[in-house]
Amino acid sequence: MIACKINGLSVEAQDGATVLDAARAAGVRIPTLCFLEHQLPTGACRVCLVEVQGAKALMPACATPVAAGMVVTTNSPRVRRTRRQIVELLLSEHDGNCPTCARNGDCELQRLAEDLGISRVTFEGTKTRAHSDTSTPALVRDNGKCIKCRRCVTVCNTVQNVGALFPQGRGFATTIGPAFERDLADVVCVQCGQCAAVCPVGAIQETNHMDGVWAALEDPTRHVVVQTAPAIRAALGEAFGYPAGTRVTGKMVTALRQLGFDAVFDTDVTADLTIMEEGHELLKRLHSALVDKDPKVALPMFTSCSPGWIKFAEYYAPDFLPNLSTCKSPQQMFGALAKTWYAQRIGKSAKEVTVVSVMPCTAKKFEAQRPEMTASGVADVDYVLTTRELAKMIKAHGIEFRDLPDGKMDDPLGMSTGAADIFANTGGVMEAALRTAYELVTGRELPVKNLHLTPLAGLTGIKEAALKIEQALPAWSFLEGVTVKVAVAHGLGNARQLLDRIRRGEASYHFVEVMTCPGGCIGGGGQPRFTDDAVRLKRIQAIYAEDEGKTLRKSHENPAVQQLYREFLGAPLGHKSHELLHTHYKPSL
């Protein structure tokens, strides 16, 4: 511990703490803009400047380590004056248009200007050159609004290891973006939207699908159904002032009904279906490897629910493409079934049904437009709203979200199990898969407390578990005594590390779950801002509570899934499943 003084308070700071860490721990608020937790400070924005006794210049709190006996002032007139000047300079070049900006009311720069009491900008200067990049299906970049804090650069390079964004040029002319100021479509971008999630201003956002959804809802000839991903219910409330981790499933359903959707369904149902298909696919691969001794069988098998990960693999890990499960994501399985099985049931053609998804994700917008995703003959999913976009639509419709009564999803595609809920967080898909696979093979419930595989939970980047199969049912006797080894990675930087370990032969697994975003879908690029680890953990807690609150907690128990197999699909991996629920991916570049 290091003793120092902050604003006259005696503070004991942790060894290695920065002034910012120490101040936060002591309850002293220092504004920040470029700061990102767990990342090396860039010190780019200078908003966190503080006065350190004995130092000539003001020091950036995020990048200044605490020293013994240090005397820090965070709110002197000099500090206040300087911070205001810095923010005024940022505002002078920021091509903001606040009232019409998508970030109006949800902008860190705006909030900072308000907190610092800036009522006018005293500097007149050149505005940052505006360039709008709409080259990708999921993301829109507007350079005129960029304040060059470089948070997006850090997440794109250090966290996700994708490297689409980097500062280009130098000085005032610096822009943040792809090589030589080109568009995102010209470089490798997996459209995970983590850049949009950390952008403090309106420089990076999701592509607007709200207008398309409003138009579909207004069109009386269209039957418009909505599916909501499991991660939405644990985060949507934040957009209406609820603390992180508040579950708003019932209010969300009522709000969707009031918006005018003809049916409110749950992506959970196809998450359960994914488990059935993917679980059987894994068992088939294991059979090929262990019994048929087929040298060509690709193990470990990787999950394929996360479209950013799929695109990452297509670009950076083409050698692992045969290892990807052929299962489409729950979003796309839902679209394919809504426009075939469900459409037939209500006497409509695929063309008359509009499928809207609500996703925590920007990459889902890209996924819905992939040419492979037209099993029904038309695009299986028409529009993908992020959690943030749904919140905006609810507000625009004049709905008092907090006053809404709880509603229930419609049958049959609104039935869910706890196993599907936990698809929302890292480790969840694996746990759900093992709950079903273990029971299928042994006839007994997964032998862990409360059905939770604790080694796979939490925010550690790469997690592992092993499960020994004993007393297998006769049909699965080839698995008797086999120790099934699994791994979980979240955040593409961690995924890349895990792939490298597997390539080098340092680790071997049967089944690997990869989620693109840190924390999994609950930390997705389309979730309410701002998502840090504290928020991630609260959302994860909410998801586990949702799971534990359900009577049905295993995918194979979902009555809608059972009905689907009985009436339409036949058996897992059957002909119909292959047609509608599976796909293949090709290397890019």
Binding site: N157, G163, P167, G169, F180, V188
Partner: protein, 172 residues
Amino acid sequence: MADSLTCECACKGADGAAPSEAELMKRLDEVLDEHRAQPGGLIPVLQIAQAIFGYLPESAMRKIAEAFHKSFSEVAGVVSFYSFFSTVPRGRHLVRVCLGTACYVRGGREVLDALKKRLGIDVGQTTADRRFSLAVGRCFGACGMGPVIMVDDTVHQRVKSARVGELLEEHS
């Protein structure tokens, strides 16, 4: 590093003819084999590549990015940060004018204007006969001799704007 900056190879192949693009790429491959993934090796390799090609073609930058396990955007960020790098073909001679503070106050700007007028090109451009390219720099580390310009690797000191024509004539 100074050795690699001088043009050893871009002009002529072993038989005196201009080397083909494929031959130049082969040279880059050899350089990359030597420096691959070396920490801190990116900028030196970019300099060598520029000496090989006379500029930095996109194909070369992509190859370098791959060898250093960096993204193309990151390599582009480094290349666009330093004015010594060029992504467009340059003339046989590169004229660089220092506009650092010392040179600027001693007439650097006038020298630049005179060069622009004389060559009929703007900064970043190359004359139609591919003889000269014009660039600016911020301080060559010769502040006591300002205003300074560099033609290729030669530093010219106390340049007078009226006499830039004579200076250019020395370079064919």
